[in-house]
């Protein structure tokens, strides 16, 4: 499945060497018309706005022009997805950065090749009319969380950093299927989770939500990152580069042409059009994705670039709060993060401004 034919592998190595010496644009083109390499790719969760770029990369041929025939599968949670990539069930995939760090610390190493989102948008969500205006107001209130959601272990850290007395919170664990419903029905006061996943449902209730982002409290928790096994990177860097290249091209396309990107999504995943308010939901998710795809590292260092300083903080967070078993091993930052292929594509100021203008409404709800 993932075995590259000898010929194209040799070619890939050559290209990889070229890429690392600074030659960038158009290097994928020699792969055209080669025997296609079949690759499997997992999403962290269902197909949605936050991972739409995978379908754009596939549909626009950003991967196939490098001879990569990628089949995209839904995932079952960020940890499960990271684990599935680490143990080779999938060749590549996107999952939450901290999930990848955690799985690596547990002894199943992963390497993160390109950042597709700079903010997992982990947050506390309330409705617009809620009396909870600031984190401190959460004391005495019920917060519903999904234990399997990647945000759950970081909730106490956020509360602490925001000056909230955690013992005064009434926590409840709920299933992802009912979480937003409980807030809309006012059975709970607040939710914790990823704004990007919660927003589409909360918006469809006709009301507007508000999100208090953990990232505002010096918790740089990246969202989806392209990951693979370190062994694959060592053996076939050309393939890894082509994957990064295709994905960042898809990012640029999506930032500049969000309407076209959404049409591609419904063409690639027609079943998602059957969901109630499918278009509104997708736009909400995509809008929030766009907001956090424009964070500083992408603007300064190019699309897909992962800031090593942010990774240092994320590794600290994971090691102090999640991977606390004595057997867990702190991953080396440079082993887990590589910017070898990322940051090659950059947007102009005019392009950034265009993208920004399209998603003004979402910037406002992410406080």
């Amino acid at each position: 499945m993932s075995n590259t034919p000898t010929l194209s592998r040799r070619r890939a190595l050559k290209v990889a060497a070229g890429a690392s010496s600074g030659l960038v644009a158009g290097l994928a083109s020699p792969f055209v018309a080669r025997a296609a390499t079949d690759l499997t790719f997992t999403l962290p969760w269902l197909a949605e706005g936050s991972n739409l770029i995978a379908f754009v990369a596939k549909s626009k041929g950003f991967w196939s022009k490098a001879g990569l025939n990628v089949s995209v599968a839904r995932g079952f949670g960020s940890n499960a997805a990271a684990e599935a990539i680490a143990n080779g069930k999938f060749d590549y995939g996107m999952s939450v950065a901290t999930a990848g760090i955690e799985i690596t610390a547990k002894g199943m190493p992963l390497v993160q090749l390109a950042t597709a989102g700079y903010d997992a948008t982990m947050c506390i969500a309330v409705m617009e009319d809620s009396p909870i205006r600031a984190p401190k107001d959460l004391e005495g209130k019920t917060i519903a969380s999904v234990a399997t959601s990647g945000d759950y272990p970081f909730r106490p850290i956020f509360l602490k950093r925001a000056g909230v007395d955690e013992s005064k919170i009434k926590p409840i664990l709920v299933d992802a299927k009912v979480r937003e419903r409980l807030l809309l029905d006012k059975k709970v006061d607040a939710l914790s989770g990823f704004a990007i996943s919660m927003a589409p449902v909360l918006y469809s209730g006709g009301q507007k939500p508000r999100f208090m982002l953990y990232s505002k409290y010096d918790l740089p928790l990246y969202h989806n990152v392209l990951m693979t096994q370190p062994g694959r990177l060592a053996k076939d860097p050309g393939q890894c580069e082509a994957m990064v290249q295709g994905l960042t091209e898809a990012m640029r396309f999506t930032l500049l042409e969000p309407q076209a990107a959404q049409e591609i999504f419904f063409k690639e995943v027609p079943e998602m059009a059957l969901v109630a308010h499918a278009k509104e939901r997708l736009w909400t998710g995509l809008g929030i994705w766009m907001v956090q795809a424009m964070y500083a590292p992408a603007r300064t260092n190019g699309l897909g670039y992962g800031d090593p300083a942010d990774y240092d903080k994320m590794i600290d967070l994971v090691m102090q709060n999640i991977a606390t078993d004595p057997k867990d091993k702190r991953p080396e930052r440079d082993a887990i993060l590589t910017n070898r292929f990322a940051g090659m594509l950059k947007l102009s100021d005019a392009e950034w401004a265009k993208a920004e203008a399209a998603v003004k409404e979402f910037k406002a709800v992410l406080s």
């Binding site: 399997t148 664990l173 709920v174 009912v178 419903r181």
Partner: protein
């Protein structure tokens, strides 16, 4: 050693021996291969976590156990009443059964979130869900017991001009008792699972909560310890029903 003593020893010894052998194999598999603890913790790791978290886990088991007991009681009463009603009237039987069979065909785990949405996040939702999940065995086996009463005994009742109520309680129910207990035994295990499934949908405490919060931070050994406590809880309830059944059998057989 008398035959019955030997049988008793066997009936306790064999399951224990099986468990010990399985645990040993498991331990060997984990220590001889490089299976990570996050995927499959060794029995020793599990026992260590069990020891370390025993008070918390027991407290959680108490919460889950209370709700499971309530759900089980509800399931038994509901199952018995529906069985009694359906066995006494063809009209009722034909009205109720298709709906109940249809309900049985739905994967109820998929329904669990509905209970939370409708009944809220407190114990009622979990108890109702677990009762719904576990009442079917009681219903089916009791109904089959009630409808298979010895026809001769029913004729005796008629010849004595017994009322429907009298023949129900003094003949049909005692005849259906073994079936009733059989259904109860199955239901008891389902009541525990039902509560835990419901806890996965919404919970502030309990074993389901403990399993979820441990797995959220990849403490797989703690998850297994909680599952072990869960098994013990299920076995306890099952054992209590089985003991009750033996008591009833003693009454029945003299």
């Amino acid at each position: 050693m008398t035959g019955s003593r030997r049988e008793q020893l066997l009936s306790i010894g064999l399951p224990v021996a099986t468990a010990v052998v399985l645990a040993a194999l498991w331990q060997a598999a984990v220590s001889l291969t490089d299976i990570r603890e996050i995927m499959l913790p060794a029995p020793t790791a599990m026992v260590a976590k069990l020891n370390a978290n025993l008070p918390t886990l027991l407290e959680a088991a108490l919460v889950t156990g209370r709700e499971a007991l309530a759900a089980f009681a509800l399931a038994v009463v509901a199952g018995f009443i529906v069985a009694a009603a359906s066995s006494s009237s063809q009209l009722l039987r034909e009205t109720i059964y298709p709906a109940i069979i249809a309900l049985q065909l739905i994967p109820k785990v998929a329904l669990a979130p509905l209970f939370v949405v409708i009944l809220g996040i407190e114990a009622e939702a979990r108890i109702t869900f677990a009762a719904l999940l576990s009442f079917f065995p009681v219903l089916i086996s009791t109904a089959s017991g009630l409808s298979n009463t010895d026809p001769n005994a029913m004729r005796l009742c008629r010849s004595l001009r017994a009322s429907a109520w009298q023949s129900f309680w003094s003949v049909r129910v005692p005849f259906a008792l073994p079936h009733f207990f059989y259904g109860m035994r199955i239901s008891s295990t389902m009541a525990v699972t039902g509560v835990v499934i419901a806890e996965f949908i919404s919970a502030k405490q309990g074993l389901g909560f403990a399993i979820l919060s441990a797995s959220a931070v990849s403490k797989t050994a703690t998850v297994f310890a909680a599952i072990a406590v869960l098994c013990a809880l299920g076995l306890g309830l099952y054992g209590a029903v089985a003991a009750l059944e033996r008591l009833a059998a003693r009454w029945y057989r003299g």
